[in-house]
Symmetry: C2
Subunit: 467 residues, 2 copies
């Protein structure tokens, strides 16, 4: 059923491409314009987020557009965290006690290309590249662009504008600068930045270390991680402070110091990366920021989606998943208010904002968990208990990680509330020697459930007063 | 002792004027430039923050510059909240159980004029008005201005730039837009706005209602408050949602509806404001925003202070007090790092930022407390217990309100942590019928102290993991 509205989508990354595909499938006339070159024709990755974690919430969206089989073929399952200590010893900490639950390493480039191909195959979707949005007049629904190659400037007049143009969104910038309405906005940076490196395949093209895990070298205030790629390589990311600590991005200025740092802190990783010191200076160092804002819409004219509305740090592996889940949620509100765009936008955003705020906060929590806590004995004991509970009671017990990552039927906020209470309950009882894996598991489960329930009920009066 | 540095202060409001005075007293060459006309010569109040709450933290600063006697003469003490119910019944809820503790209503205009006079009286301080800062090149320490009257543009080259130019700071805007460093920034608006109104003096020039209190008409989702002025009037502020609820700023569009609203919700206040409906449409409706950012400095070149660094909502009566306390704290770091401006700025801001974040959050908590909780029986019971404890054990017990407002020797953050734990403790025990004013007061104090201490120790393991 063809729809009358002309829709302009600014930004053809993962979120924009999925949105274009979905709106195209629904019959809208979609025009999508992207600032960068078409990544299907040019290599533009250049050391930034080469692969991503793809999991259940993202899968919901991929199923919605009917692409699960094609996407599965791009996935490398990762069953847990392979933790590397300073001597090169490793242990695998599973993500779930249920057998079928894993997250997946997927190429940003291949997944985006797939979505672009599918969207472009629709008659009612057109895509242009290399045209940068310079300004959005959201009152009159006119967006201005500049062609990167010719330098020509042009405008697009449309019925609806979607900003899926990422953390540096032009639509969001127009909201901020025009001051037509009260626009709450925050950008907050961690003191750490990141840099991507590579473990190349061995000479047979095979993986140099265990393929089906997310590798972590936790060192308290910094870490490296590694995710596998289909070609046998791993993309490695160093997360490090810009200016504090013995080694930091500001003082890692020579090949010698970089090599010394890796020799001391990540000797087994250094062995896998003989060209480390060269690549270190070829690739950019990028900041880690969180963006929150509200409202996302202006009347029934425009809407921010994905990173443009809620950019998060990468530590929960939920950035793309959250953006994809936006489109799934948005799709349900399209049905609910068919044709009434202002109601669709308002209802969607007030529902969705709660969850995207929660995943932003969870992602920062997980930064500390990954670089530090995974190496802590009481934390490890908690994880062991949770793995046993998930394995023994697969339909009953879900850890915070599982609630966030694998239980896509509940929102991030519910996952956070229950998950944090469970973490508190287990840590509180472990610290008081009230639980152990030696006891009857039914008893153990009941204790954890009761204490979690107590914590959730604690201070209900005080909570009424928001203390 | 004359100092060599030339200092430019952008913004001659309360914070800038105090800073100019203090730096002038210390011997620096101070040049302060303000966008607005000189409020000593022109009436510019026009319905915005006519009076303010002045309390112990602000007083520290006033004592530092030696002006306490002059400032006392501008103060009207307010000993507590006079709560007005819908039938016009009132009760006084004291701010403290200690006799000598009160907050003060003070005129923004008179206090600013005093500080300007004192600063201007120093040979090494010059002040200009009606010149708007349009841009700050903080790398090269050059600020650009435009004269409001002549339209002339000029620049000022200096050694150090202080931005005390309020919530819409030009210096902060330059930090944000130039992207020379990672600048974390947030602006967040409440869904409510405010409008100022007036209760005029009676025909004898006397106060129409009780002078020495902050009057509150709490109505759950909205409220009015009133603070006394030296001329016998009260400045009344309506805090109301822009768009939700039966009555809101968007639908209060006629004299009839405004009068109906006040007749129904604030009948005793309406009696005191016969011209209410006219004034309602003369005065602006203003938003309620919180601004946080970091860093406040750029190298040893520039620093944000006061609202430009941390604008807060007015509900704790701490906006001016926090800005004044900035100057007191900053003054101690001037001594610590004499002459090393980058260390002074960095050390100051990393110390101070923690406390200004806390008062920002406390101020939002108090919005809910004032418009809603003060009318709640269990909250009132808590306040009664706290008043008795403060009165019986004046050196031992301090409520959260007292810690924030009257205990200027501790920071906002410590006040918040202890104060919230105490609130939780008392509410938890009241809800469980474990405490009452009928018991021995020494026993009661001990129970509150023990439960507070338990709450502060709760989940220390979980806190290690930041859950």
């Amino acid at each position: 059923m063809a729809k009358q509205e002309n829709i302009l989508i600014i930004g053809a990354g993962l979120c924009g491409s999925l949105l274009a595909l979905r709106l195209g499938q629904r019959g809208f006339k979609v025009h999508m314009i992207e600032m960068r070159p078409d990544l299907r024709t040019v290599d533009i990755s250049a050391g930034r987020s080469i692969n991503l974690a793809f999991s259940n919430r993202g899968l919901k969206a991929i199923k919605m557009v009917g692409l699960e089989a094609k996407v599965y073929s791009l996935c490398i399952p990762m069953h847990g965290r392979m933790v590397h200590d300073i001597k090169g010893n490793t242990f695998l900490s599973n993500y779930s006690g249920r057998e079928n639950e894993a997250i997946n390493s997927i190429s940003r480039e291949l997944l985006t290309a797939l979505l672009l191909d599918e969207a472009e195959a629709l008659d009612n979707v057109t895509i242009e590249f290399q045209k940068r949005c310079t300004d959005v007049d959201f009152e009159n629904k006119i967006a201005s662009f500049e062609d990167n190659i010719s330098g020509n400037k042009f405008t697009v007049s449309t019925d609806l504008i979607f900003g899926t143009d990422g953390a540096g969104s032009a639509l969001r910038k127009s909201y901020f600068e025009e001051r037509k309405f009260l626009f709450s906005f925050s950008q907050s940076y961690l003191t750490h930045g990141y840099k991507e490196l590579t473990i190349k395949p061995d000479k047979n093209g095979d993986f140099k270390t265990y393929k089906n895990a997310l590798h972590i070298w936790p060192r308290g205030d910094f870490m490296i991680i590694a995710l596998p790629n289909l070609n046998g390589s791993f993309t490695v990311t160093l997360f490090l402070s810009y200016e504090s600590g013995t080694y930091n991005f500001n003082n890692l200025t020579t090949h010698e110091i970089v090599t010394e740092f890796f020799e001391k802190e990540f000797p087994d990783a250094l062995e896998l990366m003989p060209n480390l010191a060269i690549e270190f200076f070829e690739n950019p160092t990028a900041p880690l920021g969180t963006v929150k804002c509200f409202p996302w819409n202006y009347k029934g004219h425009s809407l921010l989606l994905g990173d443009s509305a809620h950019a998060i740090v990468p530590f929960y592996g939920q950035g793309m998943n959250a953006s994809f889940e936006d489109i799934v949620e948005f799709d349900t509100f399209l049905d609910k208010h068919e044709g009434d765009w202002e109601s669709t936008f308002k209802d969607f955003q007030s529902h969705r904002k709660i969850d995207t705020d929660c995943i932003a906060d969870l992602a920062i929590d997980n930064f500390h968990e990954m670089k530090d806590h995974v190496a802590n004995p009481i934390f490890q004991e908690k994880r062991k208990i949770e793995m046993v509970l998930e394995s023994e009671f697969p339909d009953v017990y879900h850890s915070k990680y599982s609630l966030v990552t694998f239980k896509e039927t509940i929102g991030y906020c519910e996952a956070m509330t229950i998950g944090r209470a469970q973490d508190k309950a287990i840590l509180r009882m472990l610290a008081a020697n009230k639980i152990s894996l030696k006891e009857d598991l039914n008893e153990l489960l009941k204790k954890v459930q009761d204490e979690t329930s107590n914590i959730l009920k604690e201070d209900t009066t005080a909570k009424t007063f928001k203390y």
